[in-house]
């Protein structure tokens, strides 16, 4: 089947029921998207599908075919993604860093719909993403900084 991943067309042989996560990680070797729970409870595997943040661990790849898939490896090409990645580094958000790909993907989807999110917006968009190291405060700060940066450069 053909997949549109980070603006490239990629052909892959996969069972349509196989979750997109494993197509990315195991069949394509795109390991930036992480496995955390397998049942859409932790957000580590978040990708954008037609701009919407989805948990790739429960998304059958067949349902993603023909749609625009963006992963952590490609999100830097969007203004929101680049601003978030910059803010994340300036604020030294990560500890172990494992969940941060998913955090950034959820945050990117948030900024695409709400360029200046409130704390409540951030809670709503980000509470599906677990960080066991506990970097939530810095994630919140980084999202706000990225939003401001976005606002200034527009």
């Amino acid at each position: 089947m053909e997949l549109q991943i980070n603006d490239k067309t990629i052909t892959v042989a996969a069972e349509p029921e196989l979750p997109l996560l494993w197509v990315l990680r195991d069949l394509l070797g795109m390991t930036g998207t992480k496995f955390g729970c397998g049942v859409a409870l932790c957000g580590a595997c978040t990708v954008l599908v037609d701009g919407q943040a989805l948990r790739s661990c429960v998304l059958p790849v067949g349902q993603a075919a023909g749609k625009k898939i963006t992963t952590i490896e490609g999100i830097g090409a969007t203004p929101q993604g680049a601003a978030l990645q910059g803010a994340w580094q300036q604020i030294n958000v990560p500890q172990c860093g494992y969940c941060q790909a998913g955090q950034i993907m959820s945050a990117a989807a948030l900024l695409q719909t709400k360029p200046n999110p409130s704390d409540a917006d951030i809670d709503a968009a980000m509470s599906g993403n677990i960080c066991r190291c506990g970097t939530y405060l810095r994630i919140r700060t980084a999202i706000k900084q990225a939003a401001n940066h976005e606002g200034q450069t527009k």
Binding site: I72, W88, G97, C131
Partner: protein, 770 residues
């Protein structure tokens, strides 16, 4: 010597007493820290700190750094990065002494090789504590070699040259030579001995103690390029999951793999080796499914039909076990510390207060579950693993594959969280065994979240009973504390039935309060699941109980909690841990690291002042305090709660005061404490693994809840206490932030509602009676 706990691999029938005798009989042996690895000292004199760890330290710059023709300095990090910032902090020390320009420094991760690099166990909050000095010597020696090389090439006395910012200057003539130009000549010079080194003064530090250095892996992490243990990928690789015995010690009676083997993508189904009597780090019994993707393996695993023999732990029930711990805690147990006459002091007390606390098993739930990759080419084994214990991983993989350790290379990846779980390399051994079964083909084994929560090396479970006799003035005249919990030593010696020194010394036996009559007891407890060390280990139950109880006593005496705590700590003094029967002291010298009650007082005073202790609060709000000494550092926390009519707890703010002595990378110290607040809140609010019929009852994050963004405090304020100078020995950082959080939170709930929480997790216990 073999670094693993081989000394513990005595027959499993060894009683605790024999076990202790055996230890004592090996005079000169030290039970080091929580790693339970044993060092045989050459003489009877005890060895402390890094010297007491297997393979000690190495400070040879030729081992730890290279300077390329292009001027790039490559610094080797031999400890594992799991979020604590060691891949930034350790090279920063070397670079500073080297006078290197940080923007021209690369970091390279060492493979497992303790003979070469010194001890690599990343646990016990001791990487920086043990390696600050060796890393300084590394950098300083290299700097002096570069200066020597420059002096030789200019034919001037070395006293006339000076290294600064990646080059050496000759002051008189203004000549300069870059490190790149000097590196080859410098590398041929003898390495100056430790006594000949000129270390920087604190004023000369460029990076150490400053905190302006970005994370080494920051860019890779945010762009998805960082390599964790779950990430190595080869085109011909296979992907495995394993159905493991749901009960510790259980075995596969029989299994039917027909349906699984026929499922899409499946390459092989095979039985894992049977377990041994001691859990150690051995893989559990089970059946592995190997497929062309992890998703295919997970789907096929569901089709396995396995009949288990549960073995002796098949009746483990955490409710019944809780009751048995309570029973033990209510009767006298083994006395581990006693002073004065506690019984007569209770008789003469104006009143007595008692309370019992319960802290359940908790799981690490690292966001990256246990995982590993292995391949074997021509008898050479390569393993990529997110391991906190590289050397143990190497030796255990070698042992299980029946090959010498020289044939095994362990590539240490980034760890997607560690918290103590990844000190036990069972996952790496599984990967190696499966690669062997696939004729050396690369195999990645991934634990699903269910696997992780069902088969963790869990934090112990504990009942803590406390009783205090108060005088008419409210002061504590008598103190009895019984701590009863299965020991983590049971994974090495299953019949261990008391807490070992490394557990007693975590805030129980070494409680530094000014109490004339006290007795501490440790009744026996057996283990029925794998007990492991979880970030801050036994400090969690000990601090929860003691710090909750102090709040109860203050309330009973009608006094302010802070004032009462300070009075209990007593005047500033330095206590020899030995005088408290703590002969462990985190493996550190009792002279160098006494318990300093002045520093404990200071963090309490600082945090209460910063948090506005005593300020007027709206209805439903409350402040809770707790302080705890652990890993040679002093921590105090004030948690503020806001509890609504339904009893829903919101934590708007947490203040933490922290004294770890000198601070190498204050920015990462802050981040560790911020994280410790969240982890402490998680375990206090939600953390519990329960057992029925020997089986863990929690499957995933819906049943094993952890704190999320919407539940995290909006404000965490970390107040770092500056050290007077760099002669103060370093304390730990990664762990000591955790223990005070749960009791401070529960004390805040009491302040807000009058409700005492004596059993964790809190869940809905703050719900108001209607």
């Amino acid at each position: 010597m073999s670094a693993v706990a081989d000394e513990f691999t005595a027959p499993s029938t060894l009683s605790r007493r024999e076990f202790l005798q055996r230890l004592q009989a090996m005079g000169g042996l030290l039970l080091v820290a929580d790693g339970l690895r044993i060092v045989k000292a050459a003489d009877a004199a005890p060895k402390y700190g890094a010297d007491g760890m297997p393979h000690g330290t190495v400070d040879n710059p030729l081992v730890f750094l290279t300077i390329g023709d292009d001027g790039w300095v490559t610094i080797v990090v031999h400890r594992s990065e799991m979020g604590q910032g060691v891949r930034t902090g350790m090279p920063l020390i070397v670079a500073d002494e080297l006078e290197a320009d940080w923007t021209r420094v690369r970091v390279q991760q060492a493979p497992a090789d303790e003979e070469k690099y010194g001890n690599q166990d990343t646990d016990g909050s001791r990487s920086t504590r043990h390696f600050l000095d060796p890393m300084r010597r590394c950098g300083a020696a290299a700097r002096m070699m570069l200066e020597q090389a420059a002096a030789q090439s200019w034919n001037v006395p070395v006293t006339e040259v000076h290294a600064a910012n990646h080059e050496v200057l000759h002051q008189k003539t203004g000549r300069k030579l870059s490190y790149a130009m000097l590196a080859k000549r410098a590398a041929k010079l003898p390495v100056p001995g430790a006594n000949a080194l000129r270390l920087k003064t604190a004023e000369e530090f460029r990076y150490v103690g400053k905190g302006g250095v970005p994370l080494v892996d920051g860019h890779d992490i945010v762009t998805g390029q960082a390599q964790y243990g779950i990430d190595p990928w080869f085109k011909d690789m296979s992907f495995a999951v394993i159905a493991r015995s749901p009960v510790l010690g259980g075995t596969v009676k029989q299994f039917d793999a027909n349906a699984a083997a026929a499922a899409p993508g499946v390459q092989k189904v095979l039985q894992m080796p049977a377990p041994v009597a001691k859990a150690t780090f051995h893989p559990l019994a089970g059946v592995a499914v190997i497929a062309n993707s992890t998703g295919a393996a997970i789907a096929a695993r569901k089709l396995l039909k396995i009949e288990w023999d549960d073995g002796a732990n098949g009746s483990y029930d955490s409710d019944a076990y809780h009751a048995s711990l309570q029973e033990s805690a209510r009767k006298p147990g083994k006395v581990v510390r006693e002073s004065g006459n506690v019984d007569s002091a209770f008789q003469s007390a104006a009143k007595s207060v008692e309370a019992e606390y319960y802290i359940p098993h908790i799981a690490h739930a690292t966001m990256e579950p246990p995982c590993g990759v292995a391949r074997i080419i021509g008898g050479k084994v390569e393993v990529w693993a997110p391991t906190q214990a590289p050397q143990v991983t190497r030796e255990d993989v070698a042992k299980h594959l029946g090959t010498p350790a020289e044939n095994v290379t362990i590539h240490v990846t980034l760890l997607g969280g560690g918290f103590g779980r990844k000190s036990k390399p069972d996952f790496a051994i599984e990967a190696a065994l499966l690669s062997q079964a696939m004729d050396g083909r690369p195999v990645k084994v991934t634990w699903t979240r269910e696997d992780d929560l069902h088969h963790d090396f869990l934090h112990t479970v504990s009942v803590e009973y406390l009783k205090a006799g108060l005088g008419a003035d409210g002061k504590v005249g008598a103190w009895l504390h019984r701590s009863v919990a299965p020991s983590l030593a049971t994974i090495f010696a299953p019949n261990t039935d008391h807490e070992v020194g490394a557990e007693l010394g975590m805030g129980f036996i070494n409680m530094p309060y000014d109490i004339p009559n006290l007795r501490l007891e440790n009744p026996a407890a057996a283990a029925h699941c794998r007990i492991g060390w979880f970030r801050s280990v036994s400090n969690i139950p000990h601090a929860f109980a003691v710090q909750s109880f102090v709040s109860e006593l203050a309330a009973s005496a009608g006094k302010d909690h802070r004032d009462y705590l300070l009075e209990l700590i007593g005047p500033a003094r330095k206590i020899d841990p030995n005088s408290m029967q703590d002969h462990w002291n985190h493996g550190e010298s009792p002279q160098r690291y006494p318990v300093d009650t002045g520093r404990l007082r200071h963090v309490v005073e600082t945090v209460t002042q910063e948090a506005g202790w005593g300020k007027p609060l709206a209805r439903g709000r409350g402040l809770g305090l707790a302080a705890h000494y652990s890993f040679l550092s002093y921590t105090a926390a004030v948690v503020e709660v806001d509890i609504d009519e339904q009893g829903r707890i919101v934590v708007p703010r947490v203040d933490v005061a922290f004294d770890c002595g000198p601070q190498v990378n204050p920015e990462r110290i802050r981040s560790q404490l911020e994280g410790a607040v969240i982890m402490g809140l998680s375990l206090a609010m939600f953390g519990e693994i329960t057992f029925k019929k020997g089986r863990s009852q929690q499957d995933n994050f819906h049943q094993y809840r952890v704190t999320r963004m919407n539940e995290a405090p909006a404000d965490i304020r970390v107040h770092l206490i500056p050290a007077p100078d760099w002669t103060v020995p370093l304390g730990g950082v990664g762990e000591p932030g955790v223990p005070p959080i749960a009791p401070a939170l529960c004390n805040a709930v009491y302040a807000a509602t009058g409700k005492r929480i004596r059993r964790l997790p809190i869940k809905d216990q703050a719900r108001r009676a209607t």
